[in-house]
């Protein structure tokens, strides 16, 4: 459901205005099952997304999903499909969707690493101090699970942070600029191949 969207760097004043924006009105004809059906069109019937650069949301952290829906809706995270969908939900509707998907089982998606990925990934993790927030990659609350996430989505997300396409976690932009393309690729494969302990 998520496609790349090059919005460029939003001015701080514009972002501040977005942060102060009035909350969305409730979607009038909201039925959870219907909304879930829309989501599964891209995120998958059994939790396996239909494209490699779409994220797994089954079993993702509740508050992270909620926050991302709110950020899409408010324009803090931009995507030509998700922005329109999420803008229709109010807080309670976004929470219902987040609760639904957080309660599902994370899918088992085959992944493949390349020789040298682990060493390069660990070097990137040390440099970016990634584990300080992401811990053992299992996610918690507003921190997303990364273990077992699709490598294509992870790579695109890191690139989007690095190139200032994604701006709703601004400190990631600085961190990702320290990582070269090879490290991002290795890190993506490495994380996608991990299971939570």
């Amino acid at each position: 459901m998520i496609r790349r969207f090059s919005a460029g760097l939003a001015a701080p004043a514009a972002l501040a205005a977005l942060l102060a924006a009035a909350p969305a009105a409730a979607k009038e004809d909201f039925v959870l099952e219907d909304e879930v059906a829309v989501c599964t069109g891209c995120h998958g019937e059994a939790g396996v997304p239909v494209e490699p650069d779409y994220p797994v949301i089954w079993g993702q952290q509740y508050f992270y999903i909620f926050t991302q829906l709110r950020d899409y809706g408010a324009g803090r995270r931009q995507n030509d499909v998700m922005t329109g969908i999420a803008a229709e939900y109010d807080r309670d509707q976004a929470k219902l969707l987040a609760e639904h998907f957080a309660g599902l089982a994370w899918p088992d998606i085959p992944s493949q690493t390349e020789e040298g990925d682990a060493a390069l990934a660990e070097k990137g993790i040390t440099g970016g101090q990634c584990s300080a927030c992401h811990g053992k990659w299992q996610g918690d609350s507003r921190i997303p699970r990364l273990a077992g996430q699709q490598a294509g989505y992870l790579a695109r997300t890191m690139e989007d942070f690095k190139t200032d396409v994604r701006m709703n976690a601004p400190d990631k932009n600085s961190t990702m600029k320290q990582l070269d393309d090879a490290t991002i690729a290795a890190l993506s494969r490495y994380l996608s191949d991990l299971d939570i302990q």
Partner: protein
């Protein structure tokens, strides 16, 4: 049973030993396994001389981490062996300080699990898992540094910014209080402190744009008694241009004044977390704590002024929370080289060589700062314990290299002292980093660093254990370690200091000269402060080996108690 030092040549030491002997007599008769005797205020007050229990996160109200028992000493520590190993349910970062009450130990894990254990055998007595709310916001790892004990209760702060009271006998929750709003970036990883009817606790959140505080809650009900905001409504200060050591901090004061005029005081989102316990002086009824970095960490453009009382030692009235005095180490910090390690109260020599009541703090800058307790003023600062380069180079858009890196020096790790040797013991990091600034607006409770500090992966990292003579500021001895150090340290009357490393090594050093006397490989990072206790005449050293999220040291789930082999 503890053996008491005979080296009481100084008056203050004689006092410690005297009170220790009294406490030993009073508690030895009731130190039986499983006797869950209430923790009285008298026990908490006299903990510095209690060679049976370990009642405070940092040993006693003065936070000396100097344990008065000496059964394990420099001569026999080579015979130290594991007595038992307890494995917790959670295999993740561990920063807990084990608390021991009459043979019962209380430890915590990541994600706020609490265990009561038989301190003699490691057998589990009860296990409490906090019912975590859906929103937690924390840096740096889902840590917890332990409990406070008083009466028949055990107190813990939680990642979802609550204070909970548990029944010490059963682990059942008695009450809980929401300390602050987790969605806005408030969380708790520090251990609380208890004084009389009050539970004292600060807050995390300096990386999320909170307004920091220390609060006092009623031990019986959880009701708020007082709040001290670590950031006053006028946070401007004196426009200090130099840090505590006299270095120019390269501030553009005129630009800051112009920014202040246009945007107003930034106090509402200025950070100022308090990560560690206060030192308590019951004689003057004051507490002393250190306040962490301003928010956003690296971007000073959004927060003109000195950003009081961030990066400061602060003293407030114990009964009211009213401000008494402060000393700011770094005004308008843009490097996150803040004040985190808990302060220590002890007698120190002033500039004239007179013994005065003092406060020690180990800074991320790599200095041990020595203060007068009465007015918080600084007497001296120590030689740098780690390399310092390019201080204070301002962060840039491309990233500017400066040492120390943002983790220190001394991180949150508590120091210890030996009041006989007049030495402080600190563990340090050497982690070269670049400091990058990137201005972004307040993000509503999300991480708000205003840039990044990034480890220079190609440069060597290491750590050290450093003893400083706090009467002179000179380094007495220093031992280098293979990896940056985080966790904590314990000194004992047996002439020893104990501390662990990220590579799993747990070591004992001669406290007078740094000679390594013993080591044990724990199998996971030993990144938590050790404690000691005595049960049925047998002294133990105990430490958690669970690794560390912040530095990505190997995780584990072991509580390991050591005692002398038969």
């Amino acid at each position: 049973m503890a053996e008491w030092s005979s080296k009481a040549s100084l008056v203050c030491v004689a006092l410690v030993v005297s009170s220790a002997a009294t406490a030993q007599e009073e508690t030895s008769a009731s130190t039986l396994y499983g006797d869950l005797q209430s923790v009285t205020q008298n026990m908490l007050t006299r903990a510095a001389g209690d060679g049976n229990n370990f009642l405070h996160t940092n040993g006693n109200y003065a936070q000396t981490r100097y344990y008065p028992a000496s059964q394990i000493d420099a001569g026999n520590v080579r015979n130290l062996r594991p007595a038992w190993i307890f494995q917790t349910e959670i295999v993740d970062t561990m920063e807990t300080s084990p608390i021991v009450v009459n043979g019962v130990m209380y430890v915590t894990t990541a994600f706020n699990h609490v265990y009561a254990l038989d301190a003699r055998t490691g057998r589990q007595i009860w296990h409490h898992k906090h019912a975590m709310g859906p929103v937690t916001t924390y840096c740096c790892g889902p840590n917890n540094r332990g409990v406070a004990v008083a009466g028949d209760k055990v107190f813990m702060g939680t990642l979802d910014a609550k204070l909970v009271a548990l029944d010490a006998k059963t682990g059942k929750q008695l009450w809980e209080t929401q300390i602050a709003e987790a969605e806005l970036g408030y969380s708790e990883t520090m251990a609380p402190s208890v004084v009389e009817n009050m539970v004292l606790i600060g807050t995390n959140g300096g990386e999320y744009g909170i307004r920091g505080f220390v609060k006092a809650f009623d031990t019986e009900t959880g009701e708020l008694i007082w709040t001290f905001h670590t950031v006053p409504e006028d946070s401007t200060g004196v426009w200090a241009t130099h840090d505590a050591t006299g270095r120019d901090m390269m501030r553009d004061i005129e630009a800051e004044k112009a920014a202040l005029a246009s945007m107003g005081d930034p106090y509402e989102t200025l950070g100022g977390g308090v990560w560690q316990n206060p030192a308590v002086d019951l004689e003057t009824r004051r507490i002393y704590f250190v306040v962490g970095n301003p928010s956003p960490d690296l971007d000073g453009s959004l927060r003109p002024g000195d950003n009081l009382y961030t990066d400061s030692l602060v003293s407030v009235d114990l009964d009211t929370g009213e401000y008494v005095c402060h000393f700011q180490y770094i005004a308008h910090d843009v490097w996150d080289l803040d004040a985190v390690s808990p302060p220590i109260l002890t007698m120190v020599q002033d500039e004239a060589g007179n013994d005065v009541k003092g406060v020690l703090h180990g800074g991320k800058t790599g200095h041990v700062y020595v203060h007068k307790a009465d007015d918080c003023s600084m007497i001296r600062f120590s030689e740098a314990m780690v390399p310092q380069e390019n201080m204070w180079t301002l962060p840039t858009a491309e990233g500017a290299r400066m040492l120390p890196g943002a983790n220190g020096g001394v991180e949150w790790s508590p120091m210890a002292i030996d009041p006989q040797l007049r030495l402080s013991y600190a563990i340090n990091l050497h982690q070269p980093m670049t400091y990058t600034v990137r201005s972004t607006p307040y993000p509503e409770g999300k991480l708000w660093l205003g840039g990044s500090f990034d480890v220079i992966a190609d440069e060597e990292q290491w750590g050290n254990v450093t003893a400083v003579d706090y009467d002179t500021g000179r380094i007495a001895w220093q031992v280098r370690t293979a990896e940056p150090m985080i966790g904590g340290i314990l000194a004992t009357a047996g002439g020893l200091v104990f501390t662990g490393e990220g590579n799993g090594l747990f070591k004992a050093y001669d406290s007078s000269n740094g000679a390594e006397l013993w080591r044990f490989q724990a199998g996971a990072g030993v990144n938590a402060p050790p404690s000691s206790y005595t049960v049925e005449g047998q002294q133990y050293i105990v430490v958690a080996a669970g690794g560390n999220a912040q530095l990505n040291y190997k995780r584990g789930n072991n509580i390991i108690a050591f005692t002398l082999a038969d």
